[in-house]
Symmetry: D3
Subunit: 185 residues, 6 copies
């Protein structure tokens, strides 16, 4: 599993959550995580979370740190467990930066009642995919939010890289953990 941090800004509109996004745009073959920064605006017809669609929620943030993860396996539940672990990892990396006030609730991060993140997992015809976005700024969001800026995290892409590197390493270590145990009765 490999990652790329895309330095050039890229706005997320939902169309990036598609199979082979990393391969077609960055030449990464295999399981991957792409990190970039840009606004986030997903219209209802691009949403994959039917819960949001039914609630007529919409997603907007003027500046976010984005992660697009692709696993070339078809077990969506498995990728949802990975997604929760990714969120836990983001929290842990923020703790290393001195941010100790966050709590994880499922696939979301909060400071008190203000939401730091949006996240979704889904299936493509050939893979499973995760999008996670962290607010950099909390201006103009449709619900009460907190941004990385409010948490005094200024080197946003560097946070992104540290999360991506850790996630890639953990995927490998979990794969190897599977390869060193005997079965039991």
């Amino acid at each position: 599993m490999k990652y790329i941090v895309q330095k050039k800004p890229l706005n997320y509109d939902g169309s990036q959550l598609q199979s082979l996004f990393a391969y077609k745009n960055f030449g990464l073959k295999g399981d991957s995580i792409i990190v970039f920064r840009g606004s986030c605006r997903v219209e209802l017809n691009e949403m994959v979370d039917m819960e949001d669609v039914l609630a007529q929620d919409w997603i907007y943030s003027k500046d976010m740190l984005h992660f697009i993860v692709e696993h070339f396996e078809m077990d969506l539940e498995k990728t949802i467990i990975r997604q929760r672990l990714l969120i836990a990892t983001i929290k842990e990396k923020l703790e290393e930066l001195g941010v100790a006030t966050l709590r994880r609730s499922g696939d979301d991060l909060y400071e008190a009642d203000r939401k730091l993140s949006v996240s979704i997992s889904t299936l493509s015809p050939v893979s499973t995919l995760i999008h996670c976005g962290l607010n950099v700024s909390n201006e103009g969001t449709p619900v009460p939010t907190i941004g990385l800026e409010n948490l005094h995290v200024h080197d946003v892409l560097s946070l992104g890289e540290s999360v991506a590197r850790h996630y890639c390493n953990e995927v490998l270590s979990m794969r190897l953990a599977r390869c060193k145990v005997r079965g039991v009765q």
Copy 2:
């Protein structure tokens, strides 16, 4: 998925990491998590982690909080991802109790270089299993450790219950998260 907190002390010697432990001993059918407290002593011939066997490590703690998780699915890698999430959850529940000094490294929890936990996942013929133990006391352990007592957590089984309840809820919420998204291209 259901849990039981066994109030009566029970010493862990490795033989509890076996299929249908919850069903045969507590009547719990289906995915389960059993919480109990007792010593931990696993001899080399009971160990399932060949890495420990090769290193001639042995596992001993005079008092631990134990979790035995069983998932009736055969994908060991998937259960290893769940195991990491369980460890992240323990850390989060300890944060709720005011313990803010832990860090997670894979399937282990540390305060500085002192280890709080042991953990392993494996396959049985009919299921996948996780054992996780948290030191209550850190006396007499073969490596530098920290115990829940040192962290001023005194209601040990209550911590265990809060972890177990949260884990059961999260397993359900992940299952349902799988059931509300459309696929993408």
Copy 3:
């Protein structure tokens, strides 16, 4: 697994056999079975059974009892086995109502050579799906049929509910039956 009996008539035209039908229309998250009554008219371009398409069969019934089942698993063969069990269950529930003249042939129910049912299973991008329809009336169908009316079953939705409840219970009991056996050599 949950079910809903939709009392308001709803005509089936094939478009109901789509992922998240239960969630988007009735708010049911997870494996589900939706029961409703209405006509059945599926044009060639909506058919999923290529055997019918090749034979230029078309499906019409002016009044049917419909079941839409969704399982959030991707093994179509497994859902086809469940479909056969659903058909067997319908026959058994009709026997409880005193109808002792039916026979099951694969995924169809017949009285002598008159067909009571239509049924199909397929895959969506995120789930597997079953449609089963039972003629209420046998007027105007393109092949010789029998209807629930001819079998003196008048409380059609009540039959539907009893089938749905039984199917949900059986799915649960099969899940639990998987969780109480040891392996053999």
Copy 4:
């Protein structure tokens, strides 16, 4: 999938529920169903159903019609669904012989409260397995039972063959039903 009806009596003691039973004893390679007749006596230590073990139930019948099914797939839940379908099929084949008084409850067949059958599914290291036994005589059984003799079914092995043939055909037809549908959205 193939079947063999073994004419020579063979007593069932639980050890027949093992992988490659059909191949090692009858040379049948691949998915199979073996039909034979003989007593049934399974001691506690041979039982695979921990529910029976916990309840200290034991299984005895002096004369039974036995089916041993082996599927070379590792999804136990899928084989449990097949087991239910096998039980439904036995009921249907008995209906063809004029026995109209049975009801199926999960993996059991009853006439009123008298049990006709015992059945279990489990995993071997290389396959999944089903045992189903139908009482021929109901003498001396530890619970109230009914036997095929009481139902006036005298050609017991011929019933066994008709069930086995039908089951093999249905497994094939379900496999092919999977190969003729297009996906839906």
Copy 5:
């Protein structure tokens, strides 16, 4: 698994690599391999190999021997292993015809640096698919190629049939090889 050799020429433009191609066109239900001869011209928007699309490669041959394989299983990696075995089989069948100069490189066959074949595997919503084409003529191809004619293979469809027959037999023999071994520790 069954095969059909279609004697009538059929040009390949990519649209044949679709689910149920064998069933809809030739009535073959289940795993299948269809053999035919015709030109090969796949435009960029029909290509499934994103590597070719990114490289702006295009695929053209005025006369090819084509194989379309469909397996009703969803594990693409497994079908890619089968694809390599199919290519190895083509090489072996050509050796039986006295062609001893080919080498296999992944899913391609070469004589020295001249390419004999094109091949791709992909997923449909209900199956996995392989296309393999062997140049009959090497005129006008966009890269240096070799054709069956250059190898003095003139009965092209007969080669196709021998490959298809062998592949079907090998799929069956691999299935049965799975059904004759005991597990190990």
Copy 6:
């Protein structure tokens, strides 16, 4: 996936075909292939191929080149396909050394009617495994055989290494081939 060529002779008696052989003996974690040279003598009670057991065949060769492959996946059929590809690869590597007289028949290699190889695939509780042995000498074998010596291959371990390296590379290339295609309809 990694390989090790063990230079020190090691006799194969069947007990090497066990899970974690590479990890416990050579420290290789993850999918692996171990190459070594030594005699081959497998007694009936160590055999995993019930076909050989039923035929009372036994396996003996005084000097063989051995491959033990382990894949940490539980789909035995998939590993059997890989096994066939391994055999095809051995044939191809021998062709590079100028040996052009072999033919592959399933998982065996022959020169005319003389057998060069033995091979088997099976399941362990945590993985799938392949053993393949190539006769170096053909003296004293229970059936007519050919040895690498007869084929003028003298650097036996070097052949082993070239096969192992190629196999590891091909496993990786097949994994990546899965990650560059879009799905089709």
